[in-house]
């Protein structure tokens, strides 16, 4: 089972460090728990750090979009740390890079 992803609050933003591939129900659930943690603390700008992620599949993308929708519904924003490698390619192929701004 994927361990919980680390979360951190800095100012008005919540940060989630995703430390496993987002390619299974297990990791998807870990993301959901981490997201709820920062969301329940009132943060409506959430930054995903996917630096350690090598693969994100349709299932993982569905979970990311679920986070996006929950924030969008409350005028919030889901961001990502600068993407790299195959995950960056996947985001570009699916045009998700247009949807999620990068926090530098």
């Amino acid at each position: 089972m994927a361990e919980d992803f680390a979360t951190e609050i800095k100012g008005d933003k919540g940060y989630i460090k995703v430390n496993s591939d987002l390619d299974s129900e297990t990791s998807g659930e870990a993301l959901r728990r981490a997201f709820n943690q920062v969301f329940d603390q009132g943060k409506r700008t959430v930054v995903l750090d996917l630096t350690d992620v090598q693969i994100i599949n349709s299932y993982g993308i569905g979970k990311v979009l679920m986070c996006y929708k929950r924030l969008k519904a409350e005028n919030g924003c889901l961001m990502v740390k600068p993407l790299q490698g195959f995950v960056k390619e996947t985001f570009e192929l699916l045009m998700l890079d247009k949807l999620l701004p990068v926090e530098n």
Binding site: Y59, G62, G85, F86
Partner: protein, 197 residues
């Protein structure tokens, strides 16, 4: 889930045959033809994270690079997820958008019910990964009703749609993609090495 983890799932996931395993880099340099076959039932919910060892051997042999290994892993994951969810469990993507009064989508609700129903949950998805020099062929077969495949996959017009990306991801990586057996089998071919273009 990598292959070594897959073997632990003896009930839902079975490695039927695995030939040509090369344990050292030296052997991998001389990687010849090999075929591996695997079986998954829907109870193995993390089958989507499966990665066959042949891909690592191809990378060690410098026949593919890391990016290609990841892309091929993603292809297998997407095809397996489709075979299990849409094929064997007969779940339709559009049901993800149908939310009931309790906030649960129809897809998740029916998935839970069908996982508890042996008529669906005991159906098997089979993966066959065959390498011959210059060519990797991946065949994923399910036991569902089949479907009428689209000629060309396309991305969902709505970026927020929670489904509809799997085939586009597959086609972006593979040189050939076709459906057989009335949509119950997807055959995907990647040219490897000098012929990959």
């Amino acid at each position: 889930m990598n292959e070594s983890m897959a073997t632990e799932h003896t009930a839902p996931t079975t490695i039927i045959t695995e030939c040509g395993s090369s344990s050292s880099d030296r052997e991998a340099l001389y990687l010849n033809s090999e075929t591996s076959e695997y079986e998954f039932t829907a109870e193995c919910i993390d089958a989507a994270a499966f990665c066959p060892a042949i891909l690592e051997r191809l990378e060690r042999a410098a026949l593919i690079d890391t990016r290609e290994r990841l892309a091929l892993t993603l292809v297998i994951q997407e095809a397996l997820a489709n075979a299990i969810e849409h094929g064997n469990l007969e779940l339709e993507s559009k049901w993800r958008e149908e939310i009931d009064k309790n906030g649960e989508d129809k897809f998740s609700k029916l998935k839970r019910e069908r996982l508890a129903d042996e008529r669906y949950s005991q159906r098997v998805a089979r993966a066959r990964v065959a390498y011959i020099p210059g060519r990797l062929e991946i065949v994923i077969t399910d036991e569902g009703k089949g479907f009428k495949p689209q000629i060309k996959a396309c991305l969902p017009k709505d970026h927020l749609q929670p489904s509809g990306r799997g085939l586009a991801l597959i086609e972006s990586t593979m040189n050939e993609v076709r459906f057989e057996q009335g949509g119950r089998s997807i055959v995907m071919v990647k040219h490897i090495g000098k012929q990959s273009d």
